[in-house]
Symmetry: C2
Subunit: 354 residues, 2 copies
């Protein structure tokens, strides 16, 4: 069923809106200058929503200035203390992430919902397998399972909805990928409440990216999930980059240059890995979705290079340059190939911008 | 429908056998010493099948010694010249990867099938969007589509099967993730011939891993795919590592230590990224599937650390150590936490080995 449509600050979420990309700062939230610098940096990388940890009063007091300066909606992440949630709402955050199970009982959770309603803010009910309430844990034999994640979220949503509050999204996260997938599918079948999806504690950048891509790829291509966060033990800019790559791979949204390049094999001519890495770096700031091929041989090279917006295929000591599906130049020395490619992409960007 | 069961050297493939992990060397195949060193290195990383490019006679002549010394089945990757395929079979390779469309016409493709039948070898019909025959390309309006990949493979399989040869697997690869997914699904619905699945020219290590994880994650969890290769513009050991992470995330097979760690946030205490990276490095040679948690705070930390085989959760300046679901030590100085974790995992490995 289609999810209900929410407003998160200036952004539309759920109800068929594009799946949005979010991340979380890892600065001290009370340190406004550093936090703002990181917010700007992740927004440049493509973040559309930014969440901040608000563990204490100092952090809550910094929110007003952060909200004023930030170019995207901010979400305050709050545990244990409902008064921090109310304070964050007064500072103008677009949303809260709370775990009603640890915010101090139903009465306090309801107070937070009333304050959020008055502030036109969204509340995410975030259930994590690692932080389920003790009451839920007693249901386990050994490990949390999808049904327990779903039941925990339903119980917590009920508390908020009893106040008439409807601007709710949920997340049901497990570090087990297929457990997260099962929980999110189950939720989508039961409720119209939009989902924030992600694999919690997904591990370091390389392996966390794979776990997130498997889980979110499955869900997104089934139409499940309204906003995503890729959780990595890595800088938040990297989380945003991976999130966009997942959206692109799933065929949902594209942003920036996609470099298609060969796996290296015994047929590869030239320093392919270095050239692919180099061109990716040179074109990192391009936001227009373009496809660039860097191919190492004559078997698959010309075909892929022609299918891309621009591309090169390496021969021995020189290579061919393709643009717009046509061979533009052949026998180009290696050292000139990347510049040709870079100029072409910037030209395409210009054309598109005008 | 279940796929037909094949023998690839000592390995079973298709018909319900575990999904196997393969990669491709990027050394010069004629250079036996270097190629063998790379084969041993990728096998240590978890490769169960290794493919080699055989572009010329020199490479084909090296195969006999490589086959004798390699600890896993080898596959010769051959384009354009059917005599190289016959020579590779005579050297004892367990399989060939050919593209019947460029091997020199149906008569020669049939000769290769007959030689493979006599040698008990498997042939993979490998269709790539980048290397479709010109005849197929004329079908396109602009880009190759899944139906064309499937039709091309069906036509090529037919040529081989006309000789009575049945030990066939296919691959239908596009650099567009969802196009590859669509082609593989379509194939699985039409044929019992096992599939080698992968996203071709998947890009550099970080972004290629994401594309492969999205595509292979979807297919594997639907039961499509009998053997996988992750193609990256990166060392083949990295391809193998990512392949295993995809299999683990999809809930199919596990190998080695999985490090569960937090995304960093404002709540994180201590040098979490460094500690997670360090423990992953120290435990890289463990092959037993074990789960290790490295958590940065007291919200999700203790829960995840208890669910893991062993784990740590950081407080300010010190942390807690968990093993087998129990808190073993608290207020442990940072500098001792990783050694405790490392010793515990090696102890678990020992116990399991005995």
């Amino acid at each position: 069923m289609p999810t209900r449509s929410l407003r998160l600050g200036s952004l539309r979420l759920g109800g068929g809106a594009p799946v949005s990309v979010q991340t979380m700062t890892n600065t001290d939230t009370y340190d406004v200058a550093n936090t703002l610098a990181q917010i700007r940096s992740v927004v440049k990388a493509g973040a559309e929503i930014v969440r901040l940890a608000v563990p204490d009063n100092r952090a809550a007091e910094a929110l007003r200035e952060l909200v004023q300066e930030a170019p995207v909606p901010l979400i305050a992440d709050i545990h244990f203390d409902w008064r921090l949630a109310v304070k964050a709402l007064a500072s103008g955050v677009a949303g809260l992430r709370i775990n009603p199970g640890n915010i101090g009982g139903p009465t306090r959770a309801r107070k937070v919902a009333e304050a959020a309603g008055a502030a036109n803010a969204v509340i995410r009910v975030g259930v994590n397998s690692g932080s389920l309430g003790k009451k839920n844990l007693s249901h386990f034999l050994s490990h949390p399972n999808p049904q327990i994640l779903v039941e925990s979220a339903l119980a917590q949503v009920k508390i908020l909805e009893e106040t008439g509050f409807r601007a709710i999204k949920v997340s049901l996260k497990s570090s087990q990928v297929m457990e997260t997938v099962a929980a999110a599918r189950r939720w989508a079948a039961l409720s119209d409440i939009p989902q924030h999806i992600g694999i919690t504690e997904a591990g370091n950048a390389a392996s966390g990216a794979v776990k997130s891509a498997v889980g979110l790829g499955i869900l997104l291509t089934e139409g499940v999930g309204d906003t995503i966060r890729v959780s990595l033990t890595a800088p938040p800019e990297e989380e945003v980059r991976v999130a966009w790559e997942i959206l692109r791979a799933a065929g949902l949204r594209a942003r920036g240059v996609e470099v298609i390049s060969c796996p290296t094999c015994g047929r590869t001519k030239g320093p392919l890995i270095q050239m692919a890495t180099e061109i990716k770096k040179r074109l990192a700031d391009v936001t227009q979705p373009l496809k660039v091929a860097v191919m190492g041989c004559i078997v698959n090279g010309p075909g892929e290079a022609r299918n891309a917006d621009a591309g090169i295929a390496l021969g021995q000591g020189h290579g061919s340059f393709f643009a717009g599906g046509r061979l533009v130049a052949s026998r180009v020395p290696y050292e000139n190939l990347l510049s040709l490619l870079e100029e072409e992409v910037h030209k395409m960007e210009q054309t598109h911008a005008n």
